[in-house]
Subunit: 317 residues, 2 copies
């Protein structure tokens, strides 16, 4: 018998899950619709049946824990609290719901924190005590590790670098405020920057033929790789604001490295190079030439599930 945990990544549309051993090997991975039934309780009930059936097929493993990453997942309370992207409203006692079906420890945190723990246990941050994980998806999430521990803060909600202000009175944010970093640096942010650049300049661009709704970060990356000047400038602008603002984060926790993870990080050097350059240019002198900006060492394909599994492994010890 060998021990394994289940990692679960709950998203607005799909829930991905897998059985992960202590070395980070994925013994099984699958996904189901998050919305196939109405409430969270029914979802967990149905999902647990599916998961138990899968576990029964793996006679050689003993389940020792479950780790879950979910939007607005609160580590302390085991609850999902007012997640804007989920159908489940209010406060959902997710850990308790899972414990009704599985007699093992269950841990929950938000998706960016799970990615940070995944980076620490299975990715590029192995052996690092101080680093920051930046997840570049629809928004900008972050997980901050100091003294070898994830910072949850007094209420479980620490690490919202996407909602620090990079431009006072800047772009409108979904959170109700203005100028948040994620309104500039995220898949949505770079779209907005492309549209701003298309408005301000007369530069020809293949992106002039695409509607705002149809435009994706992947399309901008592809155009930039083909030399489209608007797309290239959008990446430069995105990296400049990310670098500028990460200089503030460095002044808080002085990390050894900052990892970029998620959709926009797939653009690799297009985002990495300007971020590094503008970070260095904006750092207080004592921090210069010390902080690495790196792509996540987690494989994109199952990084979120691996992160959730890493949370469980870290807690079990």
């Amino acid at each position: 018998m060998s021990e394994a945990v289940v990692g679960i990544d709950i998203g607005g549309t799909f829930t991905k899950y897998g059985i992960i051993d202590k070395k980070g090997n994925c013994l099984f991975e699958h996904s189901i619709s998050t919305t196939f039934c109405d409430g969270a309780e029914e979802f967990v009930h149905e999902f647990s049946t599916v998961l138990q059936a899968e576990l029964n097929k793996h006679k050689a493993i003993t389940l020792v824990g479950i780790g879950i990453g979910a939007p607005n997942g609160n580590y302390y309370n085991g609850t999902i609290e007012f997640a804007p992207n989920l159908k489940w409203k209010g406060i959902i006692p997710l850990v308790d719901l899972f414990k009704k079906h599985f007699n093992v420890p269950v841990y929950l945190t938000n998706d960016a924190n799970a990615a940070a723990i995944g980076e620490m246990i299975f990715g590029g941050a192995k052996g690092m005590n101080d680093f920051i994980e930046i997840t570049l998806g629809t928004g900008l999430g972050s997980g901050i590790v100091s003294n070898g521990k994830l910072i949850y803060g007094h209420d479980g909600f620490a690490g919202e670098i996407g909602h620090t202000i990079v431009r006072y009175n800047g772009r409108q944010c979904g959170c109700g405020r203005r100028g948040c970093l994620e309104t500039y640096v995220s898949a949505t942010g770079i779209k907005r920057s492309v549209y701003k650049l298309l408005a301000d300049s007369l530069e020809p661009s293949e992106l002039r033929g695409v509607s705002f709704n149809d435009l994706s970060a992947d399309m901008i990356t592809k155009a930039a790789k083909e030399g489209d000047k608007i797309a290239l400038e959008a990446f430069e602008y995105t990296g400049s604001l990310l670098g500028q603002k990460l200089a503030d984060s460095v002044a808080h926790t002085s990390p050894e490295a900052i990892f970029l993870f998620g959709g926009l990080a797939k653009a690799e050097n297009l985002i990495l190079e300007p971020t590094r350059r503008h970070l260095e240019a904006n750092l207080l002198s004592i921090y210069k030439n010390k902080v690495k900006v790196l792509l996540s060492g987690l494989k994109e394909v199952n990084a979120a599930v691996l992160g959730a599994a890493a949370l469980a492994w870290k807690e079990i010890g």
Copy 2:
């Protein structure tokens, strides 16, 4: 025999020191000139003789450690590194210098970190695992505690909130950059704000008769308490920028409380009230009505020495 530590606070002009028991009682406190001899080695040699003579008078106590707070003090290396306000240039191996004279553990950190540890052990942060200490002196220093531990970062230099940027292309800072928080929020920062307000408005003010060099934070506090409109507006402006920027810090580590310490904090409600109001107005909704902004619970008179002593007590355990 009862155990005690020596707390030492090294400043540009004076070095304060005291013998502190485990409960934070000060058995003896004194100060000497930091500049009475040229190099750091001679200073530590001479100072150690004075200190040893004092310890010899206290037969009833056993010295178990020494804690030191100093500008640019590096906890990991035990060194003072390129401190702009000290006569000692370059890298000073301060812990090693002290160990030549005392056969006990010696710990070093910067003054703001020492204040944070003092707050945790002897002040208002007893029992808190997540808080931020803001020291408002000539500049703005900070010490960040998460998961019950001070954040030193990978290089020992974490916690420079005074050098996060509150206004891009804003006021010139001694660090060579522009718009750092401490150029607005510190004893020097509020002086600059008073001068800006005196320039922009025609409002009568008793501060119109004082030169920039002569103006002090205490004078501004006194004028504000007497109803001087320029002085009152300077506090409002100072608190507004501090509150705005602390919203970013909350989004990093989600502290239970933020403590204000040092000269400008003596203005009490004049700085506390606008800071609280603007912090609340700028917080991401999940953090609203949760974060306390408080005056330090350390007595001003020997807070820095108490902080340095607390560092030693925390390490000894």
